[in-house]
Every structure is written in C-alpha cells, then in structure tokens.
Amino acid sequence: DAGVTQSPTHLIKTRGQHVTLRCSPISGHKSVSWYQQVLGQGPQFIFQYYEKEERGRGNFPDRFSARQFPNYSSELNVNALLLGDSALYLCASSLEDSNNEKLFFGSGTQLSVL
C-alpha cells in the first residue's frame, strides 16, 4: 500500500505569492495533520483535520489555512508568502483522532521563498 504522498516535492516561490500544498493520506486514514519544519529545527504543528473538520490549530498566522476533502486528502494554503515561510512542510496521517495514534509522515514539500 502507498504511504502518505505529498505534492509537489519541491517548490520555489517569491515573496507575496500564494502556494497550495497537497497531501493524500494512507488509504483508510481519516486524520491529517500538517507540520512546518524549518532547517535545523524540529517540526512545528500547524493544523489537524479529522472527518473534514478542523480539530487543532497551532500558533500560525491567518495567512495559513487548510481543508480536508471527502476522500480525506488535504490541502495547505499559504498566502502572502514571506522569506520565513521557507521550510519543509510535512503531512501526517492516522487512522483516527485519538490519543497515542501512530502518525505516518510523508516525505514533505520543500518550499523555498525568494
């Protein structure tokens, strides 16, 4: 079975532009989470969605938004890009939205903002 897939793998944008990142969870997984990993740091939680509803939001500005579709895939949108948004964006999926669920991460989208 395929793991968590993310697209695109790499992306270069300029300041002020908008970007959409996509994630397909493992088949049967209903929960999708997004994390931002700046070079040299650990991942930081952005959003969690379960059954198309937002279940959690990290400390990120309103320029960041996300949604989950009926097939459980998800999109992360970032508006008015800043240089500091350059990072690896990771998507993770799990079966349910409960404690101690095993998270499976995708390989990420490497975003560079110039």
Binding site: Q41, G42, P43, F45, Q48, D97, S107
Partner: protein, 111 residues
C-alpha cells in the same frame, strides 16, 4: 506553551560507541514518541512510551520515560553508521494528534 528541549543538538561518534540523547520538559505529557528522520524524508516513528518509568527496547535502542512523564531518554548501544540521522522526541498532551517536537539531535556515526 509546552516546550521540549533535546540535548545534545549534535553528536559525532565512532562506530561501536554508546550514546544517550535526552528530552526534557517542564510540562507533563500523556505520551512521548521518538522519531528518526533522514535527509529528504519525513520522521519515522521508533517508539511510543506512555507510562511513567516505562522502559522499551528496540534492538540496540533503549527508551525510557521519566517517572513524572516530563522527560525521556534514548540510549543506543554499539552505534553503527546506519544509526546516523536526526532523532526527534515529540510529546502528546492528550488533545488528539497534536505533537510538540523537540529541536532534534543530529547523530553521525563514523565507520
């Protein structure tokens, strides 16, 4: 805001040596997870510890959760070059899948 601090940040050792990585917080977590991440890849879960004082072993890796569930350690015995990577600890506070990650320990094992 819950924070997890990992130490050391960087570790370069020779094959066959032992090492310990620490993960500390002032907050209590319902569980703590350890991940390993290689360049260009997402983190891969190694282990989850849930009970205070719990010890889990995964081949040459030993994981321990502190009695107060605020800290954890990862001990690697007889490190091998294949152990090279970024080791991340992550705490779960019981509110769904939101994880708080530490800054990571970058390990290099030289042959």
């Amino acid at each position: 805001t819950q924070l997890l601090e990992q130490s050391p940040q960087f570790l370069s050792i020779q094959e066959g040596e032992n090492l310990t990585v620490y993960c500390n917080s002032s907050s209590v977590f319902s569980s703590l997870q350890w991940y390993r991440q290689e360049p260009g890849e997402g983190p891969v879960l190694l282990v989850t510890v849930v009970t205070g004082g719990e010890v889990k072993k995964l081949k040459r890796l030993t994981f321990q959760f502190g009695d107060a569930r605020k800290d954890s350690s990862l001990h690697i015995t007889a490190a091998q070059p294949g152990d090279t990577g970024l080791y991340l600890c992550a705490g779960e506070d019981g509110a769904g899948n939101m994880l708080t990650f530490g800054g990571g320990t970058r390990l290099m094992v030289k042959p």
